[in-house]
Symmetry: C2
Subunit: 313 residues, 2 copies
């Protein structure tokens, strides 16, 4: 029987939590919890293709690079993304092995450095919006604008932050390999941090300082490898209308048309649920298959249809 393939996306904040420092021990503990959750999907007959975010992790690395700038050359953002594919891939893969052993299961676990070609839409790059890295004072911000030609904006009264483009992914260089290995029964960790962003010009690839939203990369990957299910893990068990208000109404399911309507009506803000819904819609439109949005804590019951939000055609 061919393996059913599930692509699962979750944020870097599932591994490095806001209220923690983010030591290795803390992150490994959350990797362990996450892997336990993911193995519940595996035990329901799905092959796993895991796409993790890297927000807090790449944030820390940018601080480290910044603090050592007099002693070591800078690592551009795309190189920092590549670094977190190594570090987070290692942590997740090792804990996955440990959890598999604990359940008496034997599976290959494969982590792929993943390069993603972005849309060639230069227009968008002139108005970057995605904040990355440390906060700066106004003076530091001025200096960095001058010296490094960075785009820097004031961020929610907490200081100044660099903003970078957040382009859409158009091609995952390793997609064929991921499909091949997933269909051979491997658990795959790929597209970490949304993938290493590349531009292609006249056939030549080059890195670019940008951040690709991991939900869009996961959606593209799910389409390219013919996934049967696309799962987006988030902080809430169900997507809600009027989120955070007294009128809040969690949804069990949405059709394509309903989801588009809610999105247009502003129920899903750009910085949080918006990209998840858009990424989900792209998958449903292209494949006619289902997307499940839920939180890691209730994933098992969501798979049984008892919670979570489903988007269907």
């Amino acid at each position: 029987m061919p393996v059913k393939k599930a692509v699962i996306a979750f944020g870097g904040n599932a591994i490095l939590k806001e209220d923690e420092r983010g030591t290795l021990q803390e992150q490994l503990l959350h990797c362990k919890e996450t892997c336990q959750t993911l193995l519940d999907i595996l035990e329901r007959g799905y092959g796993l293709i895991i796409v993790h975010g890297n927000g807090p992790q790449v944030g820390n690395l940018l601080i480290q690079v910044e603090e050592a700038q007099r002693k070591t050359p800078p690592l551009p953002l795309e190189v920092c993304v590549a670094a977190t594919q190594g570090t987070m891939g290692f942590m997740l893969e090792m804990e996955m092995h440990n959890q598999l052993t604990g359940r008496g299961l034997k599976k290959e676990v494969t982590t792929l450095v993943t390069q993603v070609v972005i849309e060639p839409d230069v227009e968008k790059f002139e108005h970057p919006t995605k904040p990355v890295g440390p906060f700066y004072t106004e003076e530091q911000a001025e200096r960095l604008r001058r010296e490094r030609h960075w785009e820097i904006v004031e961020d929610s009264h907490r200081g100044y932050r660099r903003v970078v483009p957040s382009p859409r992914p158009v091609e995952i260089l390793e997609a064929e390999t991921i499909k091949f290995l997933a269909e051979s029964g491997h658990i795959i960790i790929a597209g970490g941090g949304g993938g290493i962003p590349l531009v292609r010009e006249d056939g030549h690839l080059a890195g670019i300082e940008a951040v690709i939203d991991k939900d869009y990369t996961a959606s593209l990957l799910a389409r390219e490898i013919g996934a049967d299910l696309f799962i987006i893990l988030t902080r809430v068990p169900r997507v809600a209308l009027h989120f955070g208000t007294p009128q809040e109404r969690p949804l069990d399911c949405m059709t394509l048309e309903e989801a588009r309507g809610y999105l247009a009506a502003g129920h899903f803000p750009p910085g949080s649920m918006g990209p998840k819904i858009s990424a989900a819609l792209e998958f449903v439109v292209a494949t006619g298959k289902e997307v499940l949005i839920t939180s890691p804590e209730v994933l098992a019951s969501a798979l049984e249809g008892r919670t979570g939000t489903r988007i269907t055609s």
Copy 2:
């Protein structure tokens, strides 16, 4: 026809040179040169399995982590190794794609995060010898010994440096996958920095602050995947007896027995040519096949038998 498989090992100093700062541009240039050299092997009918070192790169990352210690939690050494698998894998993979395109070739290039279980020889860990990371003053060294329980030694009158164990690899978790992909025609980048060092206790894997010599990992990988040729790239075109003296005598070839004799006679010092010869011997003994030691600059003529040192059974 089945693909002949060549495992090629080279140091991180082939990418980040001693007399350079090591900016991304500099490193990408050396990745490009290295990939050009490696494609000469491919065009002679070999599948490529590339094992790179990470000395200068992980050194820089350790400095970055150190400089930011008040703002971000430390990354233990094994996590830093994992990071360089991401960063160097990215640079090499991207440049390999560009060089393939330039030659009109089409090949999948796959970079695997690689975890390596080390020998369970606790004895050795009590006398670590491998220096890593920045130099410290005597005062800093004292504090780090106290606070972090690091082993720190004076290093060649340039200051104090942390030393870590350098254990032998015994198992590469991804070896089967590497073999499978290499035999499917992929160019593989794996075992970066010698691999992420793990210990296994009662079936449970955990990282350990150590550095595995990349030549030993490459040798083990070459044996595990049934490589036809093992190439070790180094600074010199040929291995020499009485190296660096007026009696220096470069060698075209050595038998197993001769190599063992020279090693025992002290011709190949522990910090440089010694581990390369030992790693080569392990491969020749296990497989009866050949090892070629040479420099990247003359690899093409070495493959034609015009230079380089061959070790044969």
